[in-house]
C-alpha cells in the first residue's frame, strides 16, 4: 500500500470540518483527532492548518463557536454546525459524490469496450 500522503485539495478541509461537526459539537483538537483517525493519516494535514480553516467556515456562518468548560474541566472553544453549515455540507457531499463517481467511471473504463463498439 502506497504510504505517501495525498496532498489536500483546496476546500477539502472545510468539508472535513463540516462533516466532523455533523456528528455533534466539538472543540478544535477533537476535530483534528477525528480527521486524523478517520483518514488513517492518509491525508497529510498540518494539524495547525485546521484552525484558520475553522475560522473561515465560521466567517461564512457555517459554524459558530463558544468557549465552554469540558468534562475534564478545561476551557475549550467548541464549534457547532449551524443550519447554513448543514445545508452547505449536503451540497458539498453531493458535489463530491458526483465528482468521484464521474472520475471513477472514467478511470475504470476499459479501452476495448470503448473502441470498435
Amino acid at each position: 500500500m502506497d504510504r505517501t500522503p495525498m496532498t489536500l485539495l483546496k476546500g477539502t478541509l472545510d468539508v472535513l470540518i463540516l462533516k466532523t461537526l455533523s456528528w455533534g459539537p466539538a472543540h478544535g483538537y477533537a476535530i483534528s483527532r477525528w480527521i486524523r483517525q478517520t483518514t488513517r493519516d492518509e491525508l497529510s494535514i498540518e494539524e495547525g492548518a485546521l484552525y484558520p480553516a475553522l475560522r473561515r467556515v465560521e466567517e461564512h456562518g457555517w459554524v459558530e463557536s463558544a468557549w465552554k468548560r469540558t468534562e475534564t474541566g478545561r476551557e475549550a472553544k467548541v464549534y457547532k454546525l449551524t443550519v447554513a453549515g448543514r445545508r452547505q455540507l449536503q451540497a458539498e457531499v453531493s458535489g463530491w459524490t458526483r465528482y468521484v463517481t464521474a472520475m471513477t467511471r472514467v478511470l475504470e473504463a476499459r479501452p476495448a469496450g470503448a473502441i470498435g463498439g
Binding site: 472543540h27 478544535g28 483538537y29 483534528s32 483527532r33 498540518e46 494539524e47 495547525g48 492548518a49 484552525y51 484558520p52 475560522r55 473561515r56 465560521e58 466567517e59 456562518g61 459558530e64 463558544a66 468557549w67 478545561r74 476551557e75 475549550a76 472553544k77 449551524t82 447554513a84
Partner: protein, 887 residues
C-alpha cells in the same frame, strides 16, 4: 426586517467576546496541550511529546497570525452590519413616527426648507458672483493695475504703460484696454454696441484664442494699420448671422473694420463688450497725466501682487528721475481682477449670507423647541423603551435619526425653495451685479446645502435628543400622558423661544436700518427732477460726422425738431447726464487763484459737461444765480460758462462767481482754451451715485466747446408719459439722419438703476426679517398653547373659583411676554454687536439708530403679544367642569 443582517442569529454580541489575540492563543495552546497529553498516554516522554505536538502542528506563529487576521476581519464586518442594522431600524422607526405625526413633520420640514432654501439661494449668488473663478485660464493670475499718487490713484498713462511693459519682469503680459458704446454700421442694421479698444498683448493676458478666424497680430496693433476687429460670440450670432465665413464682413464705427475673428462664447471682458479692436490705431497721447485706459496684467507663476507692486514702484522711481514735472506717480496697486470686479457687491452679499445664516439659526431653534415639545409628549413612550432595556445611547440615536430624516427631507425641500428664491433674486437683482447670471445650483452649492443640512440636524436634533433621553422612566410612566413636562424642560423651552425672538430682533433691526437708509436716499433731493423725462442716447457715426461742425448742426436740427413734438415741454442735450459718472474731468484755472504745483497752469479740477439751451429746464435743474446757457452762446461769441454750486464754492469761496473767469486746462497743452465768463450757477446734481457728494462741475455750451459733441444724450421733459412720445422722437431723428440709432430710457429708470443695489439688499434682508418674525411668532404660539394645555385643570379650577377668564388669560400671557422680553434684551445685545458690520451699507443712519431699534422692538412685542393672546384666550374659554374632569 433587516437588509444588512449577515451574522448568525445566535452569535454573541461583540461586547461579550474575547479579544481576538487571546482567543487565538488559548485555542492553539489547548490543542498543543491535548496533543501532548495524548502522546504521553501512548508512552512518550513528556519533553518529546511536547516537541512532537509542536512539530505536527506546524508553524505556530504563522498560523496564529492567520487566525487573528480572519477573525478580526469577520468581527469588523459583524460590527458594520450591526451598526447598519441599527441605523436601518432607526430609519424605519423614524419614518413610522413621522408618518404618525404628519402635521409636525410638515411644519418641521417647511421650517427647515425655508432656512436652508434662503441660505442655499444666497450662497449660490455668492458662489456665482464672488467665489467661482473667472472663466479664463489661470484666472487667479489676472490683475488690475493702477498708478498710485500722493492722493488717490489713476489709470496708467500710455507712455508709462509702455515703460512698464518694457521693464517689468513680474508679468507674462500687460495690456491696456478701453470700453464704450458706439454706433456700429455694417451689421444687419445700425446698432449701438460696446466697443473695446485693446492694446497688443490683451489677448495674451487673457490667454484666449479665436473661436473662428484669428486674433489681431502685432502688425494690426499699429497706428495707420488696416483696422481689424474681433467680435463676441453673442454679437456674431445676433448681428452677423452666425456666418462662419468672415471674409468681407465689415463693420463701421470709429474706423471701418474688417472682422477677422470671433471670440469663444463666454469671453466677456471688459464686461458686455461686443467688439474689440487694436487700441494703437489711434495715436496715443504722450503726456504722463493722460490717465485714459485701465491696465490689466497676467502675473508670472509664483509672483504675488505684492511683489509686483514692489517692482513697479522701483520702475516708477526710475521713470520719475528722467520724466518731466507732469509725472507724479509714486507707485502702483495690483489687485486681483476678480476682487476688482466684485468689490462693490462683496460686502452686501456677505451681509445677506450672514443674515440668511441667522434665519437658518432661527429655523433650527424653532425646530429644536418643537422637537423638545414632542419629546415631552413622547416621554412615556421613551420611558417604556428604556425600561425594556434600550440604552440611553440607543434612544439618543433613535431620536437623532428622526432629526436626520427631517434634515434630509428639509434639504430636499430647501433646494426647491432655493431654486424658486434664486429666480426671484435674479429678477430683483440690479442689472449691474456682475456675473449674476453665473448664480445657479451647481455641485458646490449642493455640497453647501448638504453641509448646512447636516449641521442643522446636529443643531436642532442632538440637543433635544440628549435632553429627551434623560428621562426618569419610573416617574414618566406613572404620570402617563401628562408626563415629563417638568419645570426644567419648560424653562429650556422658553429659553429657546427667547433665542428665536432675539434672532428675529437682530434681523428686524438690520432690515429696519436698511429701510431707513433707503428712505433717506429716496428722500434726497438730487438737484434734478427725474419725473416725466425721456432720455435719448445719440451717437453720431464718425464717418458721417468727421468734424464737430456737422455734429453741432445735427444737434441744432434735432433739438428744433424735438421741441416741435406735441407734449414736449423742454429739450436739451448734454454729454453726460446726472448719475452718468464723474467723467470726463480735468484741470481748470480760476483767474486770480494760485496755481497748483503740477506743471500745468491749473488751480484745481472739475467735471467737464457740455450742454445746450433747454438742458437745465428739461432736466429740472434750477439756476440759483445768473442765467443758464442761451441761444446767444455760439461759436465766435464771448465764451460763457455755467458752474455748479460746488464749483462756485470751491473756486470763489464767499464771493459772487457771476462775471468771474476761468479756463479749462486742455489736454493738448496748457492754457489752450480761452477764458470763459461765469454767467450762472446751477444746482448740484450727483455724478455717480445719489449718495455721493457732487463734484465741482462746469457746463459749456456745446456750440462754443464742441469736443465730444458726437456723443450726446438728448433730454426731453414731457407733459405726457415720457415713453409715449418715443415713436415721434424716433421718427423726428430718422428724418434728420436715419443712420443714427437712438436708445431710449426714462430718467426715472436711470435713477432707479442707481439705487437698485440698495433696494436689492433691503428687500432680501426685509424678507429674511419677516420670515424670522414669523418663526418667532410660531414658536411663542406653540409654547403658550402647550402651557395652556398643561394647565387646563388648574385654569378650570381657578375659573370655577370665580377668577375671570380674562384675568387668567392675562396671567398666562404675562409669562409669555416675559419670554419675549428676555428675547428682546438678548436681541438688542446681539443687534448692537452685529449691525456694526452694516455700516458701509447704511446712509446717514447710525448702526445703532435708537428709532429703528425701538420700531423693531415694538413690532416684535406686538407679534409676541398676538401670538400668545390667541392660545391664552382659547385656553381660558374652557368650561370649568370639562376642564376639571379631563384628569
Amino acid at each position: 426586517m433587516s437588509l444588512f443582517r449577515r451574522r448568525p442569529d445566535e452569535a454573541l454580541p461583540l461586547s461579550r467576546q474575547k479579544p481576538v489575540a487571546e482567543d487565538v492563543r488559548r485555542e492553539v495552546e489547548a490543542h498543543l496541550e491535548l496533543r501532548a497529553e495524548e502522546l504521553i498516554a501512548q508512552g512518550w516522554e513528556p519533553e518529546a511529546a511536547r516537541a512532537e505536538s509542536r512539530r505536527a502542528f506546524g508553524e505556530v506563529g504563522a498560523i496564529e497570525s492567520e487566525c487573528r487576521e480572519i477573525t478580526t476581519r469577520a468581527r469588523r464586518a459583524q460590527r458594520r452590519a450591526e451598526l447598519l442594522d441599527a441605523f436601518w431600524q432607526d430609519l424605519v422607526y423614524a419614518g413610522r413616527v413621522l408618518r404618525g405625526a404628519p402635521g409636525f413633520a410638515a411644519a418641521a420640514i417647511l421650517t427647515l426648507a425655508l432656512g436652508i432654501g434662503a441660505n442655499t439661494a444666497i450662497f449660490s449668488v455668492v458662489n456665482g458672483v464672488l467665489l467661482r473663478p473667472l472663466p479664463y485660464e489661470r484666472p487667479e493670475r489676472l490683475v488690475d493695475l493702477v498708478e498710485l499718487h500722493e492722493r488717490g490713484y489713476a489709470s496708467v498713462p500710455w507712455t508709462s504703460f509702455l515703460d512698464l511693459q518694457a521693464q517689468s519682469r513680474s508679468f507674462e503680459a500687460l495690456a491696456e484696454y478701453g470700453g464704450g458704446r458706439g454706433t456700429i454700421q455694417g451689421a444687419d442694421e445700425p446698432v449701438r454696441a460696446a466697443v473695446a479698444p485693446v492694446s497688443r498683448d490683451f489677448f495674451r493676458v487673457m490667454r484666449t484664442r479665436a473661436w473662428i478666424g484669428r486674433l489681431p497680430g502685432p502688425g494690426d496693433h499699429a497706428e495707420g494699420a488696416a483696422p481689424v476687429a474681433v467680435v463676441s460670440y453673442r454679437f456674431w450670432r445676433s448681428h452677423l448671422g452666425g456666418d462662419r465665413d468672415l471674409s468681407g464682413k465689415r463693420l463701421r464705427g470709429e474706423f471701418g473694420f474688417d472682422v477677422i475673428g470671433v471670440l469663444p462664447p463666454g469671453f466677456d471682458f471688459p464686461g458686455g463688450t461686443d467688439i474689440w479692436h487694436p487700441l494703437e490705431l489711434n495715436r496715443q497721447p504722450t503726456s504722463r497725466t493722460a490717465h485714459n485706459w485701465p491696465a490689466i496684467g497676467r502675473l508670472k507663476p509664483g509672483v504675488s501682487p505684492r511683489q509686483a507692486e514692489e517692482e513697479l514702484r522701483s520702475i516708477f522711481r526710475r521713470i520719475g528721475e528722467s520724466a518731466g514735472p507732469d509725472f507724479d506717480a509714486v507707485g502702483a496697486r495690483v489687485t486681483p481682477l476678480q476682487e476688482l470686479l466684485t468689490g462693490s457687491v462683496r460686502r452686501p452679499l456677505f451681509l445677506l449670507l450672514g443674515a440668511s445664516a441667522l434665519l437658518l439659526l432661527a429655523a433650527c431653534t424653532n425646530l429644536a423647541s418643537t422637537l423638545l415639545a414632542r419629546g415631552t409628549a413622547r416621554a412615556s413612550e421613551l420611558a417604556i423603551r428604556t425600561a425594556l432595556g434600550a440604552g440611553r445611547l440607543r434612544i439618543v440615536r433613535q431620536v437623532f435619526t428622526e432629526s436626520l430624516v427631517i434634515a434630509v427631507l428639509g434639504c430636499a425641500a430647501g433646494l426647491l425653495v432655493a431654486s424658486l428664491l434664486l429666480r426671484a433674486l435674479l429678477a430683483l437683482a440690479p442689472v449691474g451685479l456682475m456675473r449674476l447670471g453665473d448664480a445657479r445650483l451647481d455641485p458646490w452649492v449642493l455640497g453647501f446645502t448638504v453641509a448646512v443640512g447636516l449641521t442643522t440636524a446636529v443643531l436642532f436634533g442632538l440637543f433635544p435628543a440628549l435632553r429627551i433621553s434623560d428621562v426618569d422612566s419610573g416617574a414618566a410612566m406613572r404620570e402617563g400622558a401628562r408626563a415629563g413636562g417638568g419645570p426644567r424642560r419648560q424653562r429650556l423651552w422658553s429659553l429657546l423661544v427667547s433665542v428665536e425672538v432675539a434672532l428675529a430682533l437682530v434681523l428686524l433691526a438690520g432690515s429696519g436700518l436698511m429701510l431707513r437708509s433707503f428712505a433717506t436716499v429716496l428722500g434726497i433731493d438730487p438737484g434734478f427732477r427725474a419725473d416725466s423725462v425721456l432720455t435719448v442716447e445719440l451717437d453720431l457715426p464718425e464717418r458721417e460726422y468727421p468734424d464737430v461742425v456737422r455734429a453741432v448742426a445735427f444737434h441744432d436740427r434735432a433739438l428744433e425738431a424735438l421741441r416741435r413734438i406735441p407734449g414736449v415741454e423742454a429739450a436739451g442735450v448734454s454729454n453726460v447726464l446726472p448719475l452718468g459718472g464723474d467723467n470726463p474731468s480735468g484741470g481748470i484755472q480760476v483767474e486770480g487763484k494760485a496755481l497748483l504745483p503740477v506743471g500745468h497752469p491749473i488751480t484745481g479740477f472739475a467735471v467737464y459737461r457740455l450742454a445746450s439751451t433747454g438742458y437745465f429746464e428739461a432736466m429740472g435743474m434750477r439756476i440759483v444765480r445768473g442765467r443758464g446757457l442761451s441761444e446767444g452762446d455760439v461759436a465766435g461769441a464771448a465764451p460763457a460758462i455755467v458752474v455748479n454750486e460746488a464749483l462756485a464754492a470751491d473756486g470763489w469761496p464767499g464771493q459772487d462767481p457771476i462775471g468771474k473767469r476761468l479756463r479749462i486746462g486742455g489736454m493738448d497743452g496748457p492754457g489752450a482754451e480761452p477764458w470763459a465768463t461765469v454767467v450762472g450757477v446751477v444746482r448740484n446734481v450727483p455724478g455717480s451715485a445719489v449718495t455721493s457728494p457732487a463734484r465741482p462741475t462746469y457746463y459749456y455750451s456745446y456750440r462754443q466747446l464742441p469736443y465730444r459733441a458726437r456723443w450726446m444724450t438728448a433730454v426731453i421733459r414731457t407733459r405726457v408719459p415720457p415713453l409715449s412720445i418715443a415713436p415721434q422722437v424716433r421718427a423726428a431723428l430718422r428724418e434728420i439722419d436715419p443712420a443714427v440709432p437712438a436708445e431710449f430710457r426714462t430718467m426715472e429708470e436711470r435713477l432707479a438703476t442707481s439705487i437698485a443695489d440698495r433696494r436689492f439688499t433691503m428687500a432680501v434682508l426685509g424678507a429674511f426679517a419677516g420670515a424670522a418674525l414669523l418663526l418667532a411668532a410660531v414658536g411663542i404660539y406653540g409654547v403658550v398653547s402647550y402651557a395652556v394645555a398643561q394647565r387646563t385643570r388648574e385654569i378650570g379650577i381657578r375659573i370655577a373659583l370665580g377668577a375671570r377668564p380674562r384675568t387668567v388669560a392675562r396671567m398666562v400671557q404675562g409669562r409669555a411676554m416675559l419670554m419675549v422680553g428676555v428675547g428682546i434684551v438678548l436681541g438688542i445685545a446681539g443687534a448692537l454687536a452685529l449691525t456694526r458690520v452694516m455700516r458701509s451699507q447704511l446712509y446717514e443712519v447710525s448702526p445703532t439708530d435708537p428709532g429703528t431699534f425701538a420700531a423693531a422692538i415694538v413690532v416684535l412685542g406686538a407679534a409676541g403679544w398676538l401670538a400668545s393672546w390667541i392660545p391664552a384666550r382659547r385656553g381660558t374659554r374652557v368650561d370649568p367642569m370639562v376642564a376639571i374632569r379631563t384628569e
